[in-house]
């Protein structure tokens, strides 16, 4: 479904699509799209970590992003995504274990980072990894005239003054992470943050719907376990 653009300072998100499960070698997987941007994430774990990299209190999270041609991904962005997921995952539940997260952006029509993080979150939920709270990633672009565009397309991203991907905790709208690029004024940044917080509820509700469909289909096939 596509939501109509509102006139005024805030342009809303494109339609989303999500498919959970489906990857054979993974414990959890999800393929998620914002408009024409698609990312796929796979989770293996929690499973026993090698003796050299074990942590006696908590599980370790390892993130691999296989992005061809860059696409805005660097070592430090991988690190930010890892820290974001570490904040989300209840690490004390599986000490001495490692959770491998592999993200692959498949197509990029803007907001690729947000699609990738949302795919990773959906895959974690699909894998049954214990999570502390619900969260969603939203990319916001600040345009020259001050308009905030949520979930910008590639064209909008190139025209923007700056963009930022926010990971927002639902329902209390706390910012978990912020991955910015470009130069914006403080008030534009805060306006983008507000826009991200309101859109994050929609993303989170959408993930809930996708999961509910999968669970109710299982119930239908297997009976009430």
């Amino acid at each position: 479904c596509r939501s109509p653009n509102r006139s005024g300072g805030h342009v809303r998100m494109r339609g989303m699509a999500c498919e959970a499960g489906g990857l054979g070698g993974c414990d959890g997987a999800a393929r998620l799209s914002h408009g024409g941007t698609t990312s796929i994430a796979g989770i293996v774990g929690p499973r026993e970590a090698k003796a050299s990299s074990r942590d006696s209190d908590e599980s370790r999270v390892v993130v691999h992003v296989s992005a061809q041609g860059g696409g805005g991904w660097r070592r430090d962005t991988e690190e930010v995504v890892r820290q974001t997921l570490e904040a989300l995952i209840m690490r004390s539940y599986n000490p001495m274990c490692v959770i491998d997260v592999t993200i692959q952006p498949l197509s990029d029509d803007g907001s690729s980072m947000a699609a990738s993080i949302n795919a990773a979150i959906a895959a974690l939920i699909d894998a049954g990894v214990p999570l502390r709270f619900a969260a969603a990633a939203v990319c916001c672009a600040v345009m020259e005239d001050g308009t905030i565009v949520s979930d910008p397309s590639r064209e909008q991203e190139t025209k923007a003054v700056g963009t930022c991907t926010f990971v927002v905790r639902i329902p209390n709208e706390e910012i978990v992470s912020s991955i910015p690029s470009g130069f914006v004024q403080e008030k534009s940044y805060l306006a983008a943050m507000e826009a991200a917080c309101s859109e994050a509820h929609i993303v989170s509700a959408f993930l809930r719907m996708a999961m509910e469909q999968k669970i109710s289909r299982e119930r239908q096939c297997w009976g009430d376990v």
Binding site: D27, C97, I125, L131, E218, G223
Partner: protein
């Protein structure tokens, strides 16, 4: 009465105030300050109890379907031997860590007379102790059925011959229900032996390779079919085998 609702991680399931000393919370639910929240996506199960007997009014837990197994006490699982040591074996049970099976925890086993398992053997056993941060303990001792391991009629022990498949946890658990369609429908047409592990492993044995393959395929297919379609799927497979 059983009620089910779908929850996502972060959903508040109850508050401490209304639950104090009245409710018992099981897997998938964790405390976050004054709230009890779900930490996995799944079906929230609520079962009422007779409070005068146990002092508990209600039990709540979350059933989630995953591919990776979380060891729980008294689950019956199928493990694969990965390491053989002097006093015990290490088994892969598809969980976050391996399980340890003592060499003597077989019915009627003594130091001189105990089963010899090889690496790669399948063992049907129960989880006697599960730990969050250590390997779980497994056992082939049954609490009720006392036939010795040598008789071949013990409940637990090595699964010889046959064929094993792996599915998701929720589906394997559904096969244990007495009214399960796949298992019963197959039983009407064929004679076979089946062991279902709560860790998503299913072992099948019958008197011919073709039948075993048919049963394995039927079980795999039924994971994604409505119960009504399952019966016709099985009948088609049987017709193909006989015709």
């Amino acid at each position: 009465p059983k009620m089910a609702k779908t929850v996502m991680p972060g959903d508040v399931v109850a508050t401490m105030q209304e639950s104090r000393s009245k409710r018992m919370f099981g897997c998938g639910i964790s405390q976050d300050g004054e709230n009890l929240v779900a930490i996995r996506a799944g079906q929230l199960r609520t079962v009422g109890e007779n409070q005068s007997k146990t002092g508990i009014e209600m039990r709540m837990w979350i059933d989630s379907n995953t591919k990776r197994y979380v060891p729980v006490d008294e689950d019956l699982v199928i493990g694969i031997v990965v390491d053989k040591r002097t006093e015990d074996y290490r088994l892969d049970v598809r969980g976050p860590s391996y399980g340890v099976l003592s060499a003597l925890s077989f019915e009627g086993a003594t130091k001189r007379n105990k089963p010899k398992l090889e690496i790669g053997s399948l063992v049907y056993c129960r989880v006697s102790n599960s730990y969050r941060d250590a390997e779980s303990e497994l056992s082939c001792l049954s609490l009720t059925y006392k036939k010795g391991w040598m008789t071949g009629q013990a409940v637990f022990g090595e699964l010889e011959g046959g064929h094993m498949i792996e599915t998701s946890i929720g589906y394997a658990r559904s096969l244990l229900l007495p009214e399960n369609v796949v298992v019963n429908c197959l039983g009407r047409h064929l004679a076979y032996e089946i062991a279902v592990g709560c860790n998503g492993r299913i072992w099948i044995k019958s008197d011919s390779v073709a039948k075993t393959i048919l049963i394995a395929n039927a079980i795999r297919n039924a994971e994604f079919l409505d119960p009504s379609r399952t019966e016709s799927m099985i009948e088609q497979l049987i017709k193909h085998l006989q015709g």
